[in-house]
Amino acid sequence: MTDAAATSSSGAATGLSPEQKEEKAFGFWVYLMTDAVIFALLFATFIVLSRGTAGGPTGKDLFSLPHTFGETMLLLVSSTTFGFATLATIGGDRRAVIGWLVLTALLGLGFVAMEIQEFSGMIALDAGPDRSGFLSAFFTLVGTHGVHVSVGIISILVMIGQLVIKGLTPPVSSRLLRLALFWHFLDIVWIGIFSIVYLPGVL
């Protein structure tokens, strides 16, 4: 284990060793696995409660496939733009990273806006999360995903701030790579959501 790092004259240490980078990346990956378990259990809960409509509105009554397809496209394109941001990070091109991150954040915001629109529409139709077990499970599963996306957007904004203030330093780029994992993970969860919630709901 080398302790090779830049040290300033005041005795402080800066910089990230290769081992620390690997530990942080792996640790984040393990965290994503725990998040996957949370989503998996929310999916299981949704499936169990999917017949619990209590005489109220069902998926067929409420879901709009074009709307969901729109959300899916926004998220898929945003995953791709984050991929381009990742390439720019590895390539060391700070301005390109910022550009692609801004685009990703905007697409993400579009997704969240569409989701809020869908939720408020349903609530206005007396199909809110307190109407039935099915709706409680729907709002919680899809809403938890939406909250994760929102946290991702805030994190992107924080990272843009770091890029502007500190530049594309090794710690910043290590954080960006972990944020990319997070963003792609959320797109994977969304595949589950449209495949288990929306599409079967409409059938």
């Binding site: 240490a13 640790g27 998040d35 409680s136």
Partner: protein, 678 residues
Amino acid sequence: MFGRLTIDALPLYSAIAAGGALITVFGTLAVMAVITWLKAWGYLWREWFTSVDHKRIGIMYVTLALIMLLRGFIDAIMMRTQQAIALNSDGYLPPSHFDQIFSSHGTIMIFFMAMPFLTGLINIIVPQQIGARDVAFPYLNSMSLWMTAAGAALVMVSLVIGKFSTAGWTAYPPYSGAEYSPGVGVDYWIWAVLIAGVGSTLTGINFIVTILKKRAPGMFMMRMPLFTWTAFCTALLMALAFPAITVVGVLLELDRVFGMHFFTNGHGGNLMMFANLLWIWGHPEVYILILPAFGIYSSVVTTFSSKRLFGYTSLVWATAAIAILSFSVWLHHFFTMGSSASVNSAFGIATMIIAVPTGVKVFDWLFTMFRGRIRFHVSMMYLIAFIVTFVIGGVTGVLLALPPADYVMHNSTFLVAHFHNMLIPGALFGYFAAVNLWFPKAFGFKLDDRWGRRSFWCWVIGFYLAFMPLYVLGFMGMPRRMEHYDTAAWQPYLVVAFIGAVFILFGLIFLVVQIAVSVKNHAALRDWTGDPWHGRTLEWLTSSPPAPYNFAVLPKVESLDAFHAMKEEGTAYQRPERYEDIRMPKNSAFGMIVGGLAFVFGFAAVWYIWWLVAACAAAIAITVIIRASGDDTEYVMTAAEVEAIENRRFADMAKAPPPDLRHVPVGVPGAPVPGAVS
């Protein structure tokens, strides 16, 4: 402004409740007064509260655990007293109060005694055992500690402001839902468990990465001490099982606060899903509690038999098997909920299978003792008591694993006896053994032996008296959690159980006395060498207490029982020609700030003070963002500073009295000579 918090929240409705509140408030104030009188706030802040050193964090965890052990025990002796006298009478505890007590007893003992205890022990020892300087994520480690403390604080505050849950430590709906438990009790439970649960999940992640990535060169997985193996499996369980209780707690809270219908009776809810989700967490949880104890017993049996572990490989495989199988048995907690025979049998069979690897471990420990040179250290006494007593509890578990038998025994005192038989002689005795084993490593002086033995005997006798009658009562048909009863035949057994609780009370008193006496006599009990017991694993290579960086030079590991091997070769105390600078993480208030905010967040959520909830959430987010954006997290300990510390260490070793050669382990040629440079 204050949500639903009013002056009525104060526990003036009963003398006992008011008494509990007063003790809590005055106890806290008294501790704060003592610290102020000693002018120790600055010291505590700098050296402990903002520390990210795994050893300090571990000690704070164990301290929290011991305090909560006393608190949870008060619940226990109150219940035993009530049950001993409440034949055809109301006793002294009204039902609503009794219900709060059994709910808080379970919640405290599991979440705020056992979890911090094992987490603390893992924190202190595992990085040393793998030859590392700290865990992978020291700041996260600090945050985990303070999140756990925040959860404990919420439970303690419920004694003073409001009431605790009456829904048991597992809070089943619909009773725990808004309709039947409209007060704050269940909300206190939910937030305490959710907040502490985040801490545990993060600890799990931390130790998975630490053990996989920060081992010293040569420390292959199959050369790790058993305690590290069990810590690794425990960390896996923590990381992957706690999400289940996070989900179920959040869903219950959504039902309660927003009127959702996950677990309601009607409106499409499914209350059985609660039991399912809870026990998906709950079963791995009990293995989280026991696996570290198994690792501790492996450490104890080798050290005090002066012999290497018998069947190391089988023990590793058994540990891994237990960890994986622990995810496959959870339905045995609700055999009686109504599943069909095929479902019940499948989980019943899985439950019986999981007993097998534990049996393998028991034989491995016994064979380790066979032909060893046994020292009856207090830890060894706990090991022996464990082997005998835990096996009894284990076989009652196999009985309960049969669904038809469980139909009769479910929720009887037989069940209560079974799980206490697992938790007390299994987990708690293991933690006590660990304290007696590793206290000198943590503090630099040993614990008093005599008071340790007195405490041990009180605990063992107390356990048998308190819980064996409960097995009999279960067969006689007594259900659990009874506030009063009219079957005279039960009372004698309950009186015996009460006497057992009194023995345990003395066990606890003697534990406190043991610590006090040891502190008083610390000079005579000093551990000069860092290896007071002729240990075999790397934590005994460091000084007692260790330097902040643990190892000035990271050890090169060449076999199992690395330290023992180094002593045999004479390379254990070699000093390098030159010391190097060492990078260490800086102290930080981050963990404490997040924990403090989490406590206020939880309190505000319980009382529906929504503006405060939002403010705390925002403050936590900002704190995390600041921490995640900061690059200035380390400082350098210069080679000169390291050398000075090491010089002091070797000077201390030279002051050690000559080693007691009777206890030199089998196979080591001659005594290890501390302080010698080879």
